[in-house]
């Protein structure tokens, strides 16, 4: 499974599932699967480090999320203790339900983070930028710079922190981080300028035709108008198909515009993204699941995925359908995940 579009469809399906559920059992299952997938995709020598770093991030995220919700949300019936109501923001009952709700938030955030971290591992920067429609070429420039820079900024932060520590900065208080921010900002800006200079000198966007077209602008305005019209109709008692039809026409209009604009960008990629049988099968599977999730969300039939600890905490159930959907983010484990695109 190496195709960028297959991974994009995996991302779509995983996000649709992750954003539809608040079931802690299901979220824990997804988290374990994502950790397993990420570990398998890491080079054997670095697996322990990757797992350790991510576990500490997830632990911190869940702890902070639980703590914040526990302190500031005072709903739920299972009171653990109470602080005087007059205490600003934190006054009121501290409940088990708010603690669990915070933990669920932490599980969702951690799973989302891991999903994107895995996508980043699965695809090269070139493949990732290729997922952005060529019509948005300036956006591709910014994305490329960000993707290339993110790991280097992490590395630079570590270097500058070390440089400040050897100067005697204890790096304990928040104010101790100021000496890191300035060199980091300056060098990041310098590096960004150097990178864009290099891209310009290497002919970036040389063969892009002028993308400003009055027809395109008209189509964009018309499509936006249709989206708003559909939304307005949905507020009144018109049948829902009228709104959805307008959304569909608007979507087709925007898609047409993108296709037309993309054709004006004459860029040929060195590698044709390969479609193996596994890629096709996986992409179809993830697209079907994404469509299923979208239809469930539209028809508001996602109750089997939801869980609410309020008003009184109860043990979550895990229906078979939910369990099967929970396995989807881990599905790439069934495929060959080699990076080789040749």
């Amino acid at each position: 499974m190496t195709n960028a579009l297959t991974w994009a469809s995996w991302l779509l399906a995983s996000l649709a599932i992750l954003l539809s559920t608040r079931n802690p059992l299901l979220l824990s299952l997804i988290l374990i699967l994502l950790l397993t997938l990420g570990t398998r995709m890491t080079e054997p020598g670095s697996r322990k480090r990757w797992l350790g770093q991510n576990l500490s991030f997830i632990g911190t995220m869940i702890f902070l999320s639980s703590l914040i919700n526990f302190i500031f949300t005072h709903s739920g019936n299972s009171e653990l203790f109470t602080l005087p109501q007059s205490w600003f923001l934190i006054g009121g009952p501290f409940t088990l339900e708010s603690l669990v709700y915070g933990t669920i938030n932490g599980l969702v955030i951690s799973s989302l983070y891991l999903t994107f971290a895995i996508l980043n591992k699965a695809l090269s920067v070139e493949q990732l930028t290729r997922l952005i429609p060529t019509a948005f070429y300036p956006l591709t420039l910014i994305t490329t710079i960000s993707l290339t820079f993110f790991p280097s900024i992490q590395e630079r932060t570590a270097q500058i922190k070390e440089a400040q520590m050897i100067r005697g900065n204890p790096m304990k208080k928040l104010s101790d981080w100021l000496p890191i921010l300035i060199p980091l900002m300056v060098t990041s800006l310098e590096n960004a300028v150097q990178l864009s200079e290099s891209m310009t000198a290497r002919g970036f966007q040389t063969h892009t035709e002028d993308q400003k077209s009055p027809k395109g602008l008209v189509l964009l305005i018309l499509s936006t108008f249709l989206v708003f019209s559909g939304w307005i109709l949905s507020l009144f008692s018109y049948p829902s198909w009228t709104s959805w039809s307008l959304y569909l026409i608007a979507f087709l209009g925007i898609a047409l515009l993108f296709i037309a604009l993309s054709r004006k960008v004459k860029i040929v990629h060195l590698h044709k993204d390969r479609w193996t049988t596994a890629d096709i099968a996986a992409a179809l599977l993830f697209l079907l699941i994404s469509l299923l999730m979208v239809s469930l969300i539209i028809s508001q039939k996602t109750a089997f995925l939801t869980y609410d600890p309020y008003p009184t905490l109860k043990f979550p159930s895990l229906p078979l359908t939910a369990l099967l959907l929970g396995l989807v983010p881990g599905a790439p484990l069934l495929f060959n995940l080699s990076h080789d695109r040749h």
Partner: protein
């Protein structure tokens, strides 16, 4: 052919022209070395040939530039990319993608070439530069030399007619630099390329240069053959210094061109008996470091005495920086570390740095204050020390920074910024100083100032450990030399043997006077030379 006529350029918000009335011609197929002090306009001149100046930088421009019949001022860098390729100073900052083949093909993808042609050109460039096995690798896993070759391949793949290289060997060890330069030379002969190289370490490129452009720093540019230009330059490599002193004409640009008919009169050897050995400042024994399961350092043992300068050299990736970091306890290590006979094994970083000052490879990482003086105050505050302004100003004067106390550190030149960083790490007077690649990006003048400063500190009994790729710089300073390879010490001892005999570390002086034992300019006794 390149022709520049009455070219003037001034950066935005700059009061003066960095290039003033520059007129020169560069013949097709030549290799031209561009040289001059930091800030003299070398990079500006190179960037004006591909249109980055003024299209990317902005600024005021006048005059005419003709590159292969094209006008870069009108066409801009995107169009000029079809004929001109540029390799910038630091390969890391110019990589766009994370995979080798994607990176090399970037310019071709944007030129809209068909896929087969693209693949063929990428394969050819990789084969040519000896990186054909690396095509599917992630760039982050490669060594400095391999990265440098990838940036060269990315430049060559467009089949340019003009190749611009801005300090292409600044981060490489002598062997890596020589290898890259040989590739470049090979390219010129095989592809009929016109090549322009900007370089501070003249000794590396001079043997290959057909002509030179010298920017003395007043905005002008002097062009001519090395024989014409070298006599006009104040600071030159040892080979040229010696040749000038011997009034050789034409001046040799390679040690092999130096006259072989000189004999050196022998002198009666005097045996000196060392009566005093200074006490050791830093002792390391059996120091090992393992990172991510890989053995980076393997049982390193060394001693630096008070008032001694130890030069540590070795290929890129040998583990030199890791050793410095291990000494400070920044990476986990095994083995013993002693400062002034006392173990620092369980000491915190803050305790260790009271005795060891460390200048990392990028001095910019240390600087963040509003003024140079504030940088010293920050270090003193971190160490809970107090010092009068007079004392701090005296320290700045010692480092050649007098008059710059209220300057914004990041506005200073490369050499000045480095000295500010040095001032910041030595204001509390640590007895041991570790320097990691301190000559990176420094011109001859700045390098000379650094040598003088380190010699002053040596006299003050400081123990100094310098990691460097710069053989001539190391030879000027070192009391002892440590050669490092793959995490192991391959040589540790007196410098003469290394600088006169080791093929990778032989200085120019040693090359032109083989068997004399001389390896520094100051060793050359002209009265002992005679022609036969």
């Amino acid at each position: 052919m390149i022709a520049i006529n009455h070219f003037y350029f001034k950066y935005p918000q700059s009061g003066k022209h960095i290039l003033k009335d520059v007129s020169l011609q560069i013949p097709s197929g030549s290799l031209t070395l561009v040289t001059g002090a930091s800030g003299s306009g070398k990079s500006t001149l190179l960037r004006s040939l591909n249109g980055l100046v003024p299209h990317f930088t902005g600024g005021e421009i006048s005059g005419k530039i003709n590159v292969l019949g094209k006008d870069p001022i009108n066409l801009g860098p995107e169009q000029m990319a079809q004929w001109v390729s540029t390799v910038f100073q630091e390969p890391e900052t110019q990589f766009i993608y994370d995979r080798v083949d994607d990176e090399i093909a970037f310019a071709l993808e944007h030129a809209g070439l068909n896929r087969d042609e693209m693949q063929s050109r990428v394969d050819t460039a990789c084969l040519f530069l000896g990186i054909d096995g690396l095509q599917s690798r992630r760039i982050s896993t490669l060594s400095g030399g391999e990265k440098q070759r990838i940036s060269l391949a990315s430049a060559l793949v467009t089949q340019p007619r003009l190749l611009i290289l801005d300090e292409p060997t600044s981060q490489l060890d002598p062997q890596g630099a020589d290898e890259i330069l040989r590739y470049i030379l090979d390219l010129r002969s095989r592809l009929d390329l016109t090549i322009l190289i900007s370089e501070h370490r003249l000794e590396r490129v001079l043997p290959y240069a057909d002509q030179m452009i010298y920017l003395p720093g007043d905005g002008s540019a002097r062009v001519g053959t090395p024989e014409d230009i070298l006599p006009q330059m104040l600071l030159v490599p040892p080979l040229i210094e010696v040749s000038k002193a011997l009034s050789l004409s034409p001046l040799p640009t390679h040690p092999e061109e130096f006259p072989k008919n000189l004999t050196i009169q022998p002198v009666k050897e005097t045996v000196s008996v060392e009566t005093y050995a200074p006490p050791p400042a830093l002792q390391i024994s059996d120091l090992s470091v393992k990172l991510s399961g890989q053995q980076i350092l393997d049982k390193i043992t060394l001693t630096i005495h008070q008032g001694e300068i130890l030069a540590m050299m070795g290929p890129n990736g040998a583990g030199k920086t890791t050793l410095l970091r291990a000494v400070l306890g920044l990476v986990p290590s095994q083995g013993a570390r002693l400062v002034m006979h006392k173990s620092i094994e369980n000491h915190s970083l803050n305790t260790i740095i009271n005795q060891i000052g460390y200048l990392p490879q990028t001095p910019n990482d240390l600087l963040f204050s509003e003024t140079v003086l504030d940088e010293l105050v920050v270090t003193l505050t971190n160490h809970n020390l107090e010092m009068s302004s007079e004392e701090m100003l005296h320290h700045l004067k010692e480092l050649g920074l007098d008059g710059l106390a209220s300057a914004y550190p990041r506005d200073l030149s490369v050499g000045e910024r480095q000295r500010v960083a040095l001032a910041a790490i030595t204001i509390y007077d640590p007895p041991i100083i570790l320097l990691d690649e301190p000559t990176r990006g420094l011109d001859y003048g700045n390098k000379q100032s650094l040598v003088q400063l380190l010699q002053i500190w040596k006299k003050q009994k400081k123990a100094i450990l310098v990691v460097t790729h710069d053989v001539e710089f190391a030879a000027l300073l070192a009391d002892s030399v440590l050669i490092f390879n793959e995490g192991r010490v391959t040589y540790f001892g007196e410098p003469q043997k290394i600088f006169t005999q080791h093929p990778d570390y032989q200085t120019q002086t040693a090359q032109i006077f083989p068997g004399s034992g001389w390896y520094r300019l100051e060793d050359v006794t002209f009265s002992r030379l005679s022609a036969h």
